[in-house]
Amino acid sequence: MIPPFETFYEAHRDEIYRFLDRRLARDRVEDAFQETFLRALRAYPRLRHGDHLRAWVFTIASRIVVDDVRRRRPEAELPELVTEDGRPAYEDLAHLTEDLPPKQRAAVVLRYGYDLDYEEIGAALGSTEQAARQAASAGVRRLRKERT
């Protein structure tokens, strides 16, 4: 049973707002917030169950962040890995992972760019925690190989 959208929205709007606020320029946050939940609303009737809704809406928000960053920096050079906090920034990951197969790319970006755990990523990708872990590590191996 999928909960009424009101219940879903009330449960996640604040954390989605914070998520977007940490990752986007101030003047982009409100539009991105609205777009996230409008996209969720469009897809909502097609959901088959109400499990993993949190991971699902974070995935939608993540895509909007990636698209936004790409729009703003279309000419950006392939950036160096940013290791300031030991983790590449999501903007850089979005570019770096462009050549990966879609599933590996999504797993890498969600894990290292957005800090979702493997269970959430598995749910977001419609597979399992284990498959998400494998996709992320395959993606990372491939990135290492490409850069050497």
Binding site: F5, R13, R18, Q34, Y44
Partner: protein, 187 residues
């Protein structure tokens, strides 16, 4: 950090404007019979409830009309205005359509007959049952009145016992009295 009320309202308005909702609902405050929960679909008004505490009513709306149930102010404006006019004594007939989809065919038939009972008039459970095709179904009609999803617009307050007693009302007998007094049936 939380979503500001203005951003929240903006999203709710955009969702309705984009035609993405199965049901939009809001609370109409400060009517003479207390706050009302009002739900609308693109077919009309689908719910009026004397219980404005909507949390536990959303599941039922989602089951009947679809899961995209969201509080949104603007889609309710028309019903809000018609209710205001009704309570001010300036409206005797609602123009907004009642949306009774998802109810059993017999219930729909009874509610359709109910909609014909005019402002300021009353009928009885038995008479309404007869109009809906079965004069012996007064008791069943009573149950249908009790579960009327759209009171006021579908005027179950105009249905009384054969003896003329008010009998009952899901919103409380005092409200039935209040509505009949407003319409000039009771003085």
């Amino acid at each position: 950090m939380t979503v500001s009320p203005s951003l929240d309202e903006r999203f709710r308005a955009a969702a309705a404007a984009a035609n993405l909702l199965d049901v939009a609902f809001d609370v109409v405050d400060e009517t003479p019979v207390g706050p009302l929960l009002v739900g609308v679909t693109d077919h009309g008004v689908c719910r009026i409830s004397y219980d404005p505490d909507w949390e536990h009513q959303l599941d039922a709306l989602a089951r009947r009309f679809g899961p995209r149930v969201l509080r949104s102010r603007k889609p309710i404006d028309r019903v809000r205005r018609e209710l205001d006019e009704y309570f001010a004594g300036k409206r005797r007939h609602f123009d907004v359509e009642p949306d009774v989809r998802g109810l059993r065919a017999y219930n729909q038939r009874v509610l359709t007959e109910l909609a014909r009972v005019e402002y300021g008039h009353t009928t009885t459970y038995g008479a309404l049952a007869a109009q809906a095709g079965n004069p012996r179904a007064a008791r069943a009609v009573g149950t249908i009145m009790n579960r009327n999803p759209i009171p006021i617009v579908l005027p179950c307050h105009r249905v009384v016992g054969a003896s003329g007693s008010l009998t009952g009302y899901a919103g409380g007998l005092h409200r039935k009295e209040q509505l009949l007094r407003l319409e000039g049936v009771l003085v």
